[in-house]
Amino acid sequence: MAPVVACRASPNWGLRMAEPLLSVDRVSCRFSGLLAVNAASLIVPAGRVTALIGPNGAGKTTLFAIISGFQRPSDGVVRYQGETVTGLPPHELARRGIARTFQIVQPFAGLSVRENILVGAHLRHAKRAEALAAADIVGCEVGLGDILDRSADTLTVAGRKRLELARALATEPKLLLLDEVLAGLNPTEIRDIAPIIRGLCARGISILMIEHVMQAVMSLSQHVFVLAEGCIIAEGTPAEVAANRAVVEAYLGHGAAKKLGGAHDR
């Protein structure tokens, strides 16, 4: 049976994993009356793909915003590479190696694809020529090599998602936060982009991804955390989580696990 982590319990990470790259410890975020994230804890071990899933409105994007510094948590601690980074501004976190993509893609619409990636590349390369070279390499890596000179606002949804990924990669991150990079893509496009993500992981970039496309979560991630109504309700391998009663109920409603249970038994 999958280990179910209760909302307020603090799991003893030390026993399971030596020094995770990122650990989120009982982080809460309150918007006046609404508790968007409720004492959520999760870890991202180095060199792996970790997924964060959950129904709409569970607080996934808010949790991402907290990790990447766009939102200050009301409570709790975010640790990265052994240091407390709670409340640091986004640009400082990017400097330390945390890059993020946005669920609603945010291209620099007036600029070309190359110029978009260049902004990220300049973080590690002060000289224009070096940054341009780095941007071109990243652009080719995510499959934008042929359209580097196109204006970003002429890209398709799939192209924009790739651009979002390319820009983040150009900052040469250690930890990549992917907020639904596969959402809105058709199966062929997902098939094209999934190997890229796997390749990044193989290159040593740790990934935390929010994803709704379960097929992708199953095939890409090694560990899954499930967020529902602001709480982490389950974690485990993709298979464990998919079979978890609490997870099924969170997605499909109270009593759903029981109804489905018969089918599972057979």
């Binding site: 890059a99 945010q106 620099f108 619409a109 110029e115 150009a170």
Partner: protein, 325 residues
């Protein structure tokens, strides 16, 4: 170096004008136009490249003008260091306003309104403070010597302002091709996305504000050298704020030559209207308004954008033609 070649060509062509034209009217027109282009280039750094639309660049123009004039008239400082001090104080004022506005996260129309308010407050203060000459204004001594940065010939003034404009063009080009410029443009396009990519948006905007203020202050310093008089209405009035933002928007905001092209067009049409309709008060503002409406409706990227678009279409047609031929 190749990036600076177009600037060198344009500046050399403009430098030849006084050798061909002797008319004081024409030279006077060009001097004023270049001064507006300089003020506009200041606005362009912050507004065009950085997307922070200031409605109060008169604050920097006026401060440059007053500091230069007051140092010379009241403290007997030489014109050249006075000029430099005017630029420095203007830049410092830009830094102060930048810290106050960007720290509190003011964006878009809020930023525009606050900059306008700063200029207005300065105008009111300058119209009552004794040091600025209050309502009477400050009159400079006529001293036609190069040491005093005053010249007998219009051509000398023309070359001086042209040199300043040339410097501002080079600064704009260097910014455009630097990391700072890439980050500044990224902030204009999408501040949150820029932050996520490691851009310290507040720093970048502040830096742009300081450079922007310094350039517009230089235009103010030049104004008093040329006209030898400044009062609160000229220094901090909305007219200069409007001209500083109008010229780059019409010429092409966020382009190196936008302010220069815009200034030439705006000033030429303004003077043309005067010839037709006489010097009716407020006429130039009506002309500016009409041009602005036309440009925003038909050339949202300014005249330079219009030319670039036409050139791209032409090259596409040429390519198609070649393919069919």
């Amino acid at each position: 170096m190749r990036a600076l070649a177009p600037i060198a060509a344009v500046v050399m062509a403009l430098a030849a004008v006084p050798l061909l034209v002797n008319s004081n009217v024409v030279l006077n027109f060009l001097v004023v136009t270049l001064m507006i282009a300089l003020a506009g280039q200041g606005w362009n750094i912050l507004g065009g490249y950085g997307g922070q639309y200031s409605f109060g660049h008169a604050a920097f123009f006026g401060t440059g003008a007053y500091v230069n004039a007051i140092l010379q008239v009241r403290y007997g400082v030489n014109a050249w260091p006075g000029f430099a001090a005017g630029i420095a104080v203007g830049a410092a004022l830009g830094g102060i306003i930048g810290v106050l506005t960007f720290r509190s996260g003011l964006r878009g129309s809020y930023f525009a309104l606050v900059t306008l308010a700063f200029a207005e407050v300065l105008r009111i203060v300058a119209s009552v403070a004794p040091i600025t000459g209050a309502g009477v204004g400050t009159l400079m001594k006529l001293d036609l010597r190069a040491q005093a940065m005053q010249f007998q010939s219009r051509a000398a003034f023309y070359w001086l302002i042209l040199a300043l404009v040339a410097a501002s063009l080079v600064i704009a080009r260097l910014i455009e091709r630097s990391r700072f410029g890439v980050w500044l443009i990224a902030v204009r396009e999408n501040e949150d996305a820029a932050k996520a990519l490691g851009v310290n948006a507040a720093h970048v905007k502040l830096g742009a504000m300081v450079v922007s203020a310094a350039i517009t202050a230089a235009a103010g310093c030049f104004y008093v050298q040329y006209f030898l008089f400044i009062d609160s209405g000229i220094a901090y009035g909305t007219r200069i704020s409007i001209e500083a933002l109008l010229t780059p928007i019409i010429g092409g905001a966020g382009t190196v030559f936008g302010p220069l092209v815009g200034a030439l067009v705006v000033q030429a049409l303004g003077e043309g209207a005067k010839l037709v309709a006489g010097d009716a008060p407020g006429l130039s503002l009506i002309v500016y308004g009409c041009i602005l409406v036309l440009v925003i409706a038909f050339a949202p990227h300014g005249l330079i954008g219009l030319i670039d678009g036409a050139r791209r279409r032409l090259s596409r047609v040429a390519k198609l033609g070649a393919a069919h031929g």
